[in-house]
């Protein structure tokens, strides 16, 4: 996909709605879904647990995936490997 969304980042290829879930569930759902997408794909995780703001970037660092951007209650992650 190409173009940019309203937040100025890449348009996500998929949106994972984890609102209402407590950590670590948003991270677990991201870890389950991302490997099923092609390399280069961007997934947007919707999460309103404040811990997601810390744990999604930390997961990307530990797993060698790219943390693209944080929006209010939403986090964009690109599969790089």
């Amino acid at each position: 996909m190409s173009g940019a969304d309203r937040a100025g980042g890449p348009v996500p290829d998929e949106v994972l709605d984890c609102r209402g879930q407590r950590c670590p569930l948003p991270v677990i759902n991201l870890a389950r879904r991302l490997p099923e997408l092609p390399v280069g794909a961007v997934v947007r995780v919707l999460a309103d647990d404040p811990a997601a703001a810390v744990d999604i970037p930390a997961w990307c660092r530990m797993r060698g995936q790219e943390f693209v951007a944080a929006h209010p209650d939403a986090y964009d992650v690109r599969r790089t490997s």
Binding site: C23, P24, A31, D49, D55, M62
Partner: protein
């Protein structure tokens, strides 16, 4: 049969030192009177209070008249910060603090902000070490009345560069408070501070006693309603038996501190190495070198912190956690957040004088299986 308990949460409260218990019981007989009165019982109480103050001051290398006993470490931290701001209110209304202060300090900062003051938070790096350049710039800004820095992180153990931070404060003419709750009775105290606080139950004293030390010449002014006790620094009568026990155990802890640090630091090294090697997908956080001798923190990927604490408790292990699900606010630890490290599945292990090598070995032997079981139950194994 339930497993024998292994208490590994000394950073919250260390088990009471036997010396504290003896002193507490002895002081209950003689220390009930008000030391300020003019009769025999009061004079005996006054002697006990003076001796406790002298012993505590000597143990940490300050003058007795610089030291006050407060009703808790939290009260000491509140007094330190708010008194430092009050004493220099004509200079300005800005408080500078690190992003990883204890909540007692942060709550005092919020109190200050709610009353029209300003608080500037200075970031830390991934290991939890203070950004010294940002600190120096923050304290040199106009209108800074006071600065406060935790001596070492109570959550991840990283020792802060207090001498360098203090030098920046001195250059800017800003007095510095050091929250030494995890240092006193454990490691030598750094130099350069104007106000220092500590908490007795962290070194094996009783709960409900804090230390507030204000160096001679510091422009510190009590933020509380007037009270003549404790040099006017903290209102209310001192819990004298507890203060006597705090001072006695402080002297004992300081005397043993070097030997205890030499005994516990290798056990913490062992926990850091073995947890990283034997628990898959774990992040051991905090500085591996510039750290407290008795404290280590790690986070287990995909594991619920509260479930982990309960599972450890069932096996007899008492630890604490910075994960959001274990906090009353349901927010992750501000310390882990400031460092940008994994906050769920978090465990803090802190050792004390009763911790044995066998305790640590049992913890290390059981932890990988406990984490594996939790991951299997949650269906996240191999994720």
């Amino acid at each position: 049969m339930s497993p024998s308990p292994v208490y590994l949460d000394a950073a919250t409260a260390a088990p009471m030192h036997p010396v504290a218990r003896q002193a507490l019981l002895a002081a209950l007989d003689d220390g009930w009177a008000d030391p300020a009165r003019l009769y025999g019982q009061a004079r005996r109480a006054r002697q006990l209070l003076d001796a406790a103050r002298e012993a505590a001051a000597q143990a940490i290398g300050v003058r007795a008249d610089e030291l006050s006993f407060t009703p808790s470490g939290t009260a000491a931290a509140h007094s330190a910060v708010l008194g430092g701001l009050t004493g220099r209110r004509r200079v300005g209304g800005t408080l500078v603090h690190s992003a990883i202060e204890h909540s007692a300090v942060l709550h005092a900062a919020q109190w200050h902000e709610a009353r029209g003051g300003t608080a500037v938070s200075v970031p830390v790096d991934r290991l939890g070490g203070l950004d010294l350049a940002a600190w120096a710039a923050a304290v040199a800004a106009p209108g800074v009345a006071f600065a406060t820095l935790i001596g070492a992180s109570h959550e991840v153990g990283t020792v802060q560069p207090v001498p360098a931070a203090a030098a920046a404060c001195a250059d800017a003419g800003v007095p510095l408070h050091v929250d030494a709750a995890q240092l006193v009775g454990r490691v030598p105290l750094p130099a350069g501070w104007s106000v220092l606080t500590a908490s007795a139950h962290k070194w094996g004293g009783p709960p409900g006693v804090g230390l507030l030390v204000v160096r001679k010449g510091t422009r510190w002014e009590s933020p509380w309603p007037a009270d003549e006790r404790e040099s006017g620094r903290t209102p209310g009568v001192v819990n004298l038996p507890a203060a006597v026990a705090a001072a006695a155990s402080l002297r004992a802890a300081v005397a043993d501190a070097a030997a205890e640090a030499a005994r516990l630091a290798p056990l913490v090294d062992r926990i850091r190495a073995r947890v990283a090697a034997e628990v898959p997908d774990v992040e051991v956080v905090g500085d591996p070198v510039d750290r407290l001798p008795h404290l280590v923190t790690f986070s287990c990927l995909y594991v619920d912190g509260e479930a982990l604490l309960h599972a450890l408790d069932r096996r007899g292990f008492a630890v604490s956690s910075g994960s959001s699900c274990t906090s009353s606010t349901l927010r992750p630890s501000h310390v882990l957040e400031a460092m940008g490290v994994l906050s769920h599945g978090n465990v803090r292990v802190s050792l004390h004088r009763e911790t044995t090598e066998a305790d640590v070995e049992r913890f290390l032997a059981e932890l990988p299986g406990i984490v594996a079981d939790l991951r299997a139950e949650a269906g996240v194994t191999g994720l």
